[in-house]
């Protein structure tokens, strides 16, 4: 499966890999802030360092002037890291205003990321946050006094929900809120939780329960994904009645498909038609043929798509 990366993502990655001037690969010696997120075991990890120009009297007014990263991860993880450094260096952020940078800013900067790769941008935002907390410690800034939630109790005291990626209940719940995650696949894409063995999806206290707790059971209502998608409800095309639709299919089968199959000693029986799904069974020589399901797909379905309706699906019954 190939990911659909934006040109911007690919460009940033290539620039970084080739060490083009202006890229941010590396680690600042004696940095003012250092933060890490992820681990090799989880598939990607990032070390983010920055340097500030110190304000003579008020550390809160330090300005970040340089940012660098070391990242173990895929194309989009590297590109996300580049994007983060770029955003920060160009924005004249103080560490405190930098906390406002969200993973969505990174995604925008990259001109979008494939859904399955959203977690790369989340990693960038997390590493940045960790680095700011680290800066605050070094500079003696009390972030709590400034009203910033340091989530410091989360990993120590939280109940482990996703064992594969070591993610706790408070962390996952916070991310569900912050990133407006509404479905299990969205959680997995954003923070990887549930992406391993998947046994935490529906157990009590599992991901579905956390979603329900955060959104009060409204997650399902606001998303088509949690709700089981409803069967292809496409009825027979509006310009025919179901009866006419069936007749049309029968006609193509009788005049075109059946004679072709009979030439090889086979036959086909229509078992049922529901909406645009046609249930067929191959008979005669075709029934025992190794390529029976191929015949149905290539010959029967193709003919019906071409001659009746492109939406028709044939299922071997």
């Amino acid at each position: 499966m190939g990911w659909e990366y934006s040109e911007k993502t690919k460009q940033l990655f290539m620039d970084a890999v080739h060490g083009k001037p202006g890229t941010h690969l590396g680690e600042i010696e004696n940095p003012d802030g250092m933060g890490e997120h992820g681990s090799i075991a989880c598939g990607d990890s990032m070390r983010f360092t920055f340097r500030v120009t110190r304000h003579p009297s008020d550390p809160a007014q330090d300005i970040i002037t340089e940012a660098k990263y070391l990242t173990f991860g895929c194309t989009s993880a590297i590109a996300s890291s580049e994007a983060l450094c770029d955003i920060i260096e160009k924005g004249n952020y103080t560490p405190l205003t930098a906390l406002k940078i969200q993973n969505s800013d990174i995604v925008d900067y990259l001109h979008g990321l494939p859904e399955q790769k959203i977690h790369c941008s989340v990693m960038g935002a997390e590493a940045l946050e960790a680095a700011v907390f680290n800066w605050a410690q070094r500079r003696g800034v009390d972030l709590k006094k400034l009203g910033i939630d340091m989530h410091d109790q989360e990993t120590e005291e939280g109940r482990m929900v996703c064992k594969c990626f070591s993610l706790t209940e408070p962390y996952i719940k916070r991310k569900i809120r912050e990133l407006n995650l509404r479905t299990i696949p969205q959680i997995t894409n954003a923070i990887k939780a549930g992406g391993g063995c998947s046994s935490c999806h529906h157990v009590p206290g599992g991901l579905q329960d956390l979603l329900d707790q955060v959104w009060g059971g409204q997650a399902a209502a606001s998303s088509g994904l949690v709700q089981l998608p409803v069967l292809p409800a496409e009825p027979a095309p509006a310009d025919f009645s179901p009866y006419q639709f069936a007749k049309k299919i029968e006609k193509v089968v009788d005049e075109y498909i059946r004679p072709a199959l009979r030439a090889d000693g086979g036959d086909v029986e229509i078992m049922d038609i529901k909406g645009t799904i046609v249930y067929c069974s191959l008979r005669g020589a075709c029934a025992n043929c190794m390529g029976a399901s191929q015949t149905l797909k290539m010959m029967v379905e193709r003919s019906l798509k071409d001659q009746v309706d492109e939406r028709i699906r044939v299922i071997e019954a």
Partner: protein, 412 residues
């Protein structure tokens, strides 16, 4: 039955003898390695590893699936309850279930409970051979359908349902529908490959005691990603999907039993089928007014469900037990309720024959001698009862000419 009489055990669809190898494999986990697999010390860690190895063995026997997809339970009934209630609980947006009229009560009654809670349940009927109608099945699928639960083979008749075909049609129609099969009668008897042969089955239940492991252990296969909420809560065991300290010796036992069954499956099946055919042919040949239930359908090699018109099953079982022969019947008197077999009635087996049905189910431990003893004694057992039957013409050894009208009178 005298205490010293040799037992001829022909009721293996009810339960089986624990294989000596299985028993042996279990013993150390009672006497030496009795530790809780969740404990931290080294001996317990070894016990934990034994459970892990057993899980892997079972996963391998079922088509090299992921061991994480194997859940240990207490019995097939628990597996069925977990599967059906768990699927319904995890998918409250859909309210329709498809099952059959011939399921084991462990599925049937759970579906009825869902019905009482507002689900719609379609019970698919079977024909006289016990077969399902695929057209009817297709018609039953709706956009509301949440779960299909259809047994792999029937416990009373041995009739095998085309689970591969039905699960494929289900998932190709709508991948969100969950497909469950109760494979209690087939695991160990039929080749089961959940990766290649049955890739569309999401949930599969079975128990140990039908395949020469002891009673008290079952398995539920949960394909990765299947939406199914557990209901046995209170512990981290089985990744929180079935709480409770692992039943270590029995888990070791069921893994060993399945391994043995797979190792010898083909020879066993051939031998068992030969014995079954010998028994079936002889009884049909020697006794008048007989019908073999499910004969026109694909059947398990070990099961013979045979009806003797105008006599009652319990009387036959009682006489059989006098010879040390163990079998069962679909008659009302043996079912524990007053209703005769729902399976045979669903197959439209006439009333006169439902009560007179006997099920012989064989295992690899049966011998030609066992079968020959039945063949020797059974014609007389039937004759004894027919002598007493108000519907039987003993002189001509046929039903009385007015038998059917007599039956109808007593029914009304």
């Amino acid at each position: 039955m005298s205490k010293f009489m040799k037992i001829i055990y022909l009721d293996n669809n009810a339960t089986t003898q624990t294989a000596p190898e299985v028993f042996e494999s279990m013993v150390p986990y009672f006497t030496e390695q009795y530790f809780n697999p969740s404990s931290m010390y080294e001996p317990a860690r070894q016990t934990g590893q034994a459970v892990t190895a057993a899980r892997r063995k079972i996963a391998d026997c079922l088509g090299h699936v992921d061991p994480k997809e194997i859940l240990f339970t207490g019995c097939a009934t628990e597996s069925n309850n977990t599967a059906i209630l768990g699927a319904a609980h995890a998918n409250p947006n859909r309210r329709h279930v498809i099952t059959t009229t011939v399921e084991h009560p462990a599925v049937m009654e759970v579906c009825r409970e869902l019905e009482r809670n507002g689900c719609k349940v379609t019970y698919l009927g079977v024909d006289r051979d016990g077969k399902l109608d695929v057209r009817e099945f297709i018609r039953a699928l709706t956009p509301e359908t949440l779960l299909v639960s259809i047994m792999h083979a029937n416990n009373e008749t041995g009739v095998i349902f085309p689970i591969d075909q039905l699960s494929r049609i289900t998932k190709q129609t709508d991948p969100s529908i969950i497909f469950h099969t109760d494979a209690t009668q087939t695991v160990g008897k039929l080749p089961i490959d959940l990766a290649l042969g049955l890739p569309y089955v999401d949930l599969m239940s079975f128990s140990g005691h039908k395949l020469h492991a002891p009673k008290g252990v079952g398995v539920l296969f949960i394909r990765r990603g299947t939406r199914c909420r557990p209901y046995m809560l209170g512990g981290h065991q089985e990744d929180g999907r079935r709480a409770g300290t692992e039943n270590v010796p029995y888990i070791i036992g069921i893994a060993k039993a399945l391994e043995l069954a797979m190792e010898h499956r083909e020879q066993d099946e051939a031998k068992i089928e030969r014995l079954r055919t010998r028994l079936e042919n002889a009884l049909v040949q020697k006794i008048a007014s007989v019908q073999v239930n499910g004969k026109g359908a694909p059947r398990l090699a070990n099961t013979l469900n045979i009806s003797f018109h105008y006599i009652e099953g319990e009387g036959m079982l009682f006489q059989l037990s006098g010879y040390g022969i163990c079998a069962s019947s679909g008659s009302a008197c043996t079912s524990g309720s007053l209703e005769p077999s729902h399976v045979l009635r669903a197959m439209k087996v006439p009333f006169t024959a439902v009560h007179g049905s006997v099920r012989f189910s064989l295992s690899r431990y049966n011998t030609e001698e066992d079968v020959d003893t039945v063949i020797e004694v059974f014609p007389q057992i039937v004759a004894n009862l027919r002598k007493l039957s108000p519907y039987w013409d003993n002189e001509r050894n046929t039903p009385r000419a007015d038998a059917l009208s007599l039956v109808q009178q007593t029914q009304t």
